[in-house]
Subunit: 177 residues, 2 copies
Amino acid sequence: MTSFQQFVEQAGRPISLAKGDHLFLQGDVDSSAYLVSTGMLKAYYLREDGREHIKSFLPEGSVIGSMVAMLDGEACTFSLVAIEDSEVIALPYRQLAEAAQGDLALANSLVGFLAAYGRRKERREFELLSMSAEDRYANLLAEMPHVAERVSQADLASYTGITPQALSRIKRRNKTR
Amino acid sequence: MTSFQQFVEQAGRPISLAKGDHLFLQGDVDSSAYLVSTGMLKAYYLREDGREHIKSFLPEGSVIGSMVAMLDGEACTFSLVAIEDSEVIALPYRQLAEAAQGDLALANSLVGFLAAYGRRKERREFELLSMSAEDRYANLLAEMPHVAERVSQADLASYTGITPQALSRIKRRNKTR
DNA sequence: ACGTCAAATGAACCTCGGTTAATTACACCG
DNA sequence: CGGTGTAATTAACCGAGGTTCATTTGACGT
């Protein structure tokens, strides 16, 4: 019986990243998942017009990977870059899935991770669909203060789905109240 | 070795729904997943101001359930209603997860489902974050034509994240081009 | 203290979608 | 046929956020 922790120790490959280093770019084929040990990464979509939209911030303890890249072997749908000097551990997904085929505990760890991922995305979907930019920003400050204070205004805006200028306006509106 | 198909047959409870019937309401505690056999459901968020935002359409073959409700026993974050007369099969998630604890094949089926769910939500996140309402509408027509033609304008608009009036404007703009 | 560079703020103008309300189109039924 | 109810369209007005560009702030090195 293998635990996830054991799998990480046996099959994981540690990687050191300086601020600004990419783990993969949108369009790359990379079927690994990554566990963030220290530092912080951001996952973002790059549009043709050059604008970038931040999918998620990944502080210590986060696990990330492109679902379609891991599961279908297709190109990654987003890019992954360190916004602080970071240590991550690469986990080859295919190997993880194969190990899970013959390992009940590992399979159930995987179920737990995927379920947690689904839950996070469900929440994000709600925010993007049903909340205004202003509410999303307030929510970000409330839910992830430790992240918000380590991240630039521009990145906070990009995560919220607006421009830095619009975020600045929101902050001003909030002050005067 | 139990397959998912067998689990559905053994533990599934069939339910008949008339158009307009709810399976559960936002705020209910309901830790079941549902497999849609025939017809179509919609999952939607209801805001305090009364506006509703459609999370997803669920035609035949879809599986749906509130992640937080299934995993944490919390209240459902959205409502689930039939928009056509439908047949669904209720799958008690806790029972499914427990069965998976002792059943490798079932656990891996579960991994497959959760992964597919993650993939769908990842795509939706991209659409909501990086695409305009107009592009999301075009995308909906391209990706799910079979769904789009069975659904009211108001529901298509709600899924796209805009009002029926705005959707009407978009359609007009597209015609004149 | 000064210069430099990037981040953040601010202002002017524009576009898209929301809001409200009226109008048209269409299905169903007496 | 006309009547009724619902879905869809249209119009007029408004506000949030985008775009462009200028200004200010702040961190850092000299």
